[in-house]
Structures are given as C-alpha cells and as structure tokens.
Symmetry: C2
Subunit: 205 residues, 2 copies
DNA sequence: CTCACAATGTGACAGAAATCACAACCGTAT
DNA sequence: ATACGGTTGTGATTTCTGTCACATTGTGAG
C-alpha cells in the first residue's frame, strides 16, 4: 500500500522517519481498535478503511461521533498520547482497516522538527473539534428526523455510495435511538421520496 | 493585575514576549466577545472573570458548552487563529472579564520556541475536547433532570459558591429547554432535599 | 422446499418534555 | 401604598420518542 499519496503534504524526511519507526497494523471489520479507559501508546494514521469513533455509556448505549477515513488521524489518540492519559472513547473498524501506528515518543520530536506534521496535527484537532461541534448541534437542536437525515447524508458523503448498507437496528444504535423509531421515520422519508427502502439497504434519492 | 501567577508554567522569555506583544482587554458582564462567523485575529488568555462558550442556532436557541475561567484559553480561537478560519461558536462575558489577546502572527513562533507554550496549547485542546465529550454524553444519554443536576454542579464547581444566582429562565436557555420544565424539575429536587429555592437564587445542599 | 432467523412493519401505550394559559409572588420605583 | 415588571408555580394539552407485543417478509442453510 503506497500510503504516501494519502499524506502528500509531509516532507521527505518526515516520510522517511515514519517509514522507519511506524508500524503498520491491520484490523478486521468489527474489531475494537481502542476502548474507553485504555492507555494509548501510539497515534494512528488511517491508510485504508473506516474507523468509527463513538461513545459508550454504562448501559451499553452507543453514540456515534464521527468516522475516520484514509488520510485522517485520531485526534483523541494524539492528545492522549502526548499527555499519556487514558482514552475516553471507543474506536471500532467499520470495514477492514489498515493503520500506521506512530509511537508516542516520536511525537514531540516530530512536532518540533517537521512543520508539515505540526500543521497536520493542528488540522486534525480543528476538524475533529468541528465535527464534535456539529454533533452537539444536532442532538441539542434537532429532532430525530433531522438527525437521521444528517446521519444518512454523512454516511453517503463518507463512503461515496448512494446505497447505505445498514440495518435499521444499526442506525438506531448509532443515534442512540430504537429500531422502531428509525423504521417509522424512514417510512416517512420514503413517502416524501427522499429514500427508497430495501432489505439491509437504503437508497438515498 | 499580576497575570503571571495564573500561568506559572510559562518560561521567563515567553512571559517577556507576551508582556511585550499581547494586549489586555476588558469586557463587561454580558458583552459578546466573539460571535459565530467572525474572523479571529488573536487568541485569548483569560485573566479574570468567566467566559461562557455556547452554540447558537437559527431560531435564537442557545446551548451552553462550557465556561472559561482565569488561567484558561479558548481552544477554538487557537485553532481558528492558526488556520485563519471563522469561529463557529459564541463567547460571552458572564462576569466582568479581563483577557490577554495574543496576536495570531506570534503563535507559530511561540509554538516552535517555547516548550511551555506548546504544552499549554496541547493541554488546552485536551481539556476542551474532554469537556465537549462530556457535553455530548449528557445530551445523548441523560434526561433533563440529570442534565440539570450536572449543570448546577458544574456551576458551583466553577464559581466556588454554593448559591447559584440565576433565574430559571437563564438555566433553561443554557440547557436549551423551557422555563416551566426547569421550574418543575427544581421543585422535585427541592422535595428530595437536594436544593433550596429562593428568588433568583438556588442553594445547593 | 421448508425451516429458522434476521429484518422490517405496525398498533398501542407510557413517559419526557415543550407549549399554552394563567395565577401568584416579589421587589422596587413612583 | 400602589403599580408594574420580572420571576415562579401549576394545570391541561400536545408532540416526540421509547417500549412492548406481535405480524409479516426476505434470505440462506439444510
């Protein structure tokens, strides 16, 4: 996998350093990559696949925050790594996923030496923060129907596909809602010609 | 105001630089410090008072995210400043407030030269991110009664006072709820001896 | 083909919260 | 003292969402 294309902004020496020190790891769809309370010893750059970042509460309820795709990095792992705190979130591989693990010890050095890395880290913070902001917006101000629309839109934006291959139950989990509610709202959306429903698949129109 | 005590971790040279280049500004209680869509040309360090960071939606609904007190800095302004993006949030002075404005141009340099500044920035990101996470937790998983308890607790933690001098309407605004709901929930809390209600003041027991 | 199981549809009901309507209350400026 | 405005209390009603119960449908294994 030629990962360099994903990070064209990195300087040659930085690429060399990463090539030498980072470890590539694979995860299968469904694998838990990081769990709440776990210590973090490296930052992950996503090369391939999709990682789902979500919050879990005591009763097993889940709540999707955002996805990480190729070319992106986990802001939480960066912050935690630098400060050696435990993670407060869960990360699960949505698809088969390849990541590049950069050991914590290198982070400080890289921040100092490589402008492009520094920029990348700032950029990562910024976009994750923004995504969290829009998540807050949605649950604070919007009803489930609008949140569902936003969810579907984000999903197609992320995957590029118009067909969303998820069961109603999976969607309900991500939105911390219940299957029946999602089914009903989807039906309404179908009546308004916004989607077409199939088994295990929703077609966005 | 001897601001250096608030930032004991800063190196002497960094303090000198800030002293030379930063501008101190005062805001009165109620002043809007930053509004959605506004360009940001400096990062603010809070010296005195409290700043409320919140989100606003189209219909004028507000939603409190967190407070910034003395010794803290606005993560959003840092990120925006570095990338010269517009802000996505509102900042309002809760009390009369003193802040130190550090011009954007200095940021890059400070990040490179002063380890303590770099640490401070990372620390700031981390704590704001964590606060946003707990905000998401609250609205995603908790009902209004629990959110209200959290809100009151946070308020007393922040101000140090056991007496919360807010009207029910103000609380409702911060939680994006309605006055009647808050009044009723507070009554219930009073019956459970968790608070004592007065006019414009709530006593936490 | 048929059985089993997962996914989906649907009605009935419960609870939380928003909204409306209005009463009561407190403080203060005149 | 009174009148006014902001604050708080409370009932009635509605909407949204979650929950329970159960029917229906599609799909793949045997």
């Amino acid at each position: 996998m030629n990962w360099k294309q994903l990070f064209p902004q990195f300087e040659p020496e930085l690429i060399e350093l990463i090539e030498k020190e980072a470890v590539q790891r694979s995860f299968n769809a469904g694998d838990i990559i990081m769990r709440t309370g776990q210590y973090i010893k490296s930052t992950a750059l996503v090369l391939e696949g999709q990682i789902k970042i979500y919050r879990e509460n005591q009763d097993g309820g889940e709540f999707l925050m955002y996805y990480l795709g190729p070319g992106q990095a986990c802001a939480v792992s960066m912050i935690c790594a630098i400060q050696s705190h435990t993670s407060e979130i869960m990360a699960k591989a949505e698809e088969d996923t390849e990541v590049l693990m950069i050991p914590v010890q290198l982070m400080d050095d890289m921040m100092n030496k490589y402008k492009s890395w520094y920029q990348f880290v700032i950029q990562t913070y910024r976009s994750r923060f923004d995504e969290l902001l829009s998540v807050v917006d949605n649950i604070a101000f919007r009803n489930m129907d609008e949140r569902l629309e936003f969810y579907l839109k984000r999903y197609t934006d992320k995957t590029g596909k118009k067909n969303i291959e998820l069961s109603h139950q999976q969607i309900a989990d991500d939105l911390n809602s219940s299957r029946e509610v999602i089914s009903r709202l989807l039906k309404k959306m179908e009546q308004r010609n916004m989607v077409k429903l199939h088994r295990n698949m929703i077609e966005l129109l």
